[in-house]
Symmetry: C2
Subunit: 335 residues, 2 copies
């Protein structure tokens, strides 16, 4: 059995663009989405990579995602914008938001974009890393369809609600810290359900709020947050900042990111950019290296993002090995 | 044996002011600190309450804390300030920062204060709750002396690095979410060390990075973060935003908040204020109630901050019962 097919990053992106355009996505939006999916695939974040393409295309076909949406920016002040993603993909809206944030943050030292009417944003790290490449510190919070219950409760209210931050480094790629608040990704439970395997204790609760090792019961229930009670509180904090504050649907109000049916999920993202040189009194770049060096001087400690950068280097050199099942899905989209 | 002495909140504040002034603190600074400590005591957050007073006074006496420091504000833009706490207490600097943030956020929708050269800020919730009382959403990140190691490492680099957020509610006190990133407070390990008791597995690592139940070994080692590896990454994220970004000392560079010896800790805080009405397109207040109601409709789920508000009501009605040992400490400070 073939393990898959190898593509250069450019080839993979072109294929993804074609698949999205064939489904009815506007060319520019398709390029934005494809670029982010291929970057996730290259970084080894396969849950946010090409495996999403068939589901994305299906959502464009039914109109759950508006393939031709044009993000609309409303300027609230010299340092604040709202971005209406127009029930389209999140990536074009976040591209617009980041472009605006860069110039606002350079003149105001801080800037915020409140993105609503939005969709799955993939790797949070992707968006903040783009800001860090412009010399800014980026911080992003986003919500997603319900996955985590309030502590002591039984029903999912909050998404897995990732937090991502990137900081520019003097002579190295940006430092990126990117974490979702579920102890493990729901995708791992879905994979176990497909193969009929039990999941470890501590991953999920059933619909009555009891710990479960049955993946089907877990999918009908909720994911346990990292850090248990504290993590559930943190998920609510992110929900308020990335959904309530921006005027987006909460996790429990949002439709699935996967299925093609139903109304648009309409979730939200809060994206912040800081200009670190003036905010730190000039010392940021040197001081960050001191912190990184202190971490790296400890045997056994690893800088966050190291594995991702290694995967990226390999992908840039050798291309992507895309599993045969995903290649088949993509080729089916081109017909 | 007497269990303690009862004081009204006003009496407790006056006593704390006198103790701090006697040690050499300027009157206005003493009032700022005393107000925050008594608020923490009333909220049942005793680790940030009157138990700190003797240590604070001792630090003023040796000059580790400058009792007469006047916080200096540097205005970077219409939405960004730096605040030099002047190696004084954090509370007067944060009072200044919050006052400035309120007017900036009302005109710019977002504002940031980068506070450096600072000290222990007590309950993060206290500061953001004041912003929420002005109709703003407040977010605060702060660092503290080293307590948490990078994941896989053995030496503390990061503080316990609290994250606090408060949001204004329509007809209820602000919703406050306030969590430190250590699984449990180091104060609990100190208490166990005093009484010679073992601590539960999972709280701390010894100086070689091994799990320990010996409180002395734990104090020589590091605290385990909530959420293990993800929590350690989150602690680094908060360290970068609240120390590197504001130009403050990192956790591993900061002296103790407890002892009177050594240089000032010089830690940092990042305080953000958002104007939720324009950022949400007008729906914030209604939408937050929808989220809160969804949470409260789940049996067993409790809104964050409930216990704190209950303790506060009791303290406002019945006053504070201050343990005899703390009363003795305070009285000794007045001589």
């Amino acid at each position: 059995m073939s393990e898959g097919e190898r593509f250069t990053l450019a080839e993979a992106r072109d294929l993804a663009v074609k698949a999205l355009v064939t489904a009815g996505t506007a060319e520019g939006n398709a390029l934005s989405v494809a670029t982010a999916l291929v970057a996730a695939e290259a970084d080894g974040q396969k849950g946010h990579g090409l495996s999403r393409l068939a589901s994305y295309a299906g959502q464009v076909r039914t109109g759950k995602v508006k393939g031709a949406a044009e993000p609309q920016i409303e300027r609230l002040s010299a340092s604040a914008i709202r971005v209406d993603a127009g029930a389209g993909f999140a990536f074009p809206a976040l591209d617009c938001a980041r472009d605006a944030l860069v110039s606002m943050a350079r003149s105001q030292m801080i800037a915020v974009a409140a993105v609503y009417n939005s969709h799955h944003f993939g790797q949070g790290g992707y968006h903040v890393e783009r800001l860090a490449e412009q010399g800014l510190v980026g911080l992003m919070l986003g919500n997603s369809p319900q996955a985590i219950a309030p502590w002591g409760g039984t029903q999912g209210l909050f998404g897995t609600n990732p937090i991502a931050m990137a900081a520019p480094r003097r002579e190295a790629p940006p430092l990126v810290i990117d974490l979702s608040l579920a102890k493990v990704a729901r995708g791992k439970v879905m994979a176990a359900a497909k193969t009929g395997q039990e999941i470890p204790e501590g991953w999920a609760l059933d619909a009555e709020g009891r710990p479960t090792r049955d993946p089907e019961a877990a999918l009908a229930g909720t994911m346990i947050p990292m850090g248990e009670a504290k993590g559930a509180a943190l998920a609510m904090l992110v929900e308020i900042l990335s959904a309530t504050l921006v005027g987006a649907n909460h996790g429990f109000e949002a439709s699935s990111f996967f299925t093609a049916e139903g109304p648009p999920p309409g979730v939200g993202q809060l994206l912040l950019a800081f200009d670190p040189t003036p905010l730190s009194g000039g010392g940021f770049a040197d001081r960050l290296e001191i912190l990184v060096n202190a971490l790296q001087s400890q045997p056994g400690a690893r800088l966050p993002g190291t594995r991702r950068l290694t995967a990226r280097e390999v992908a840039e050199r050798d291309g992507l090995l895309v599993p045969a099942a995903i290649v088949a899905e993509i080729k089916a989209l081109l017909r």
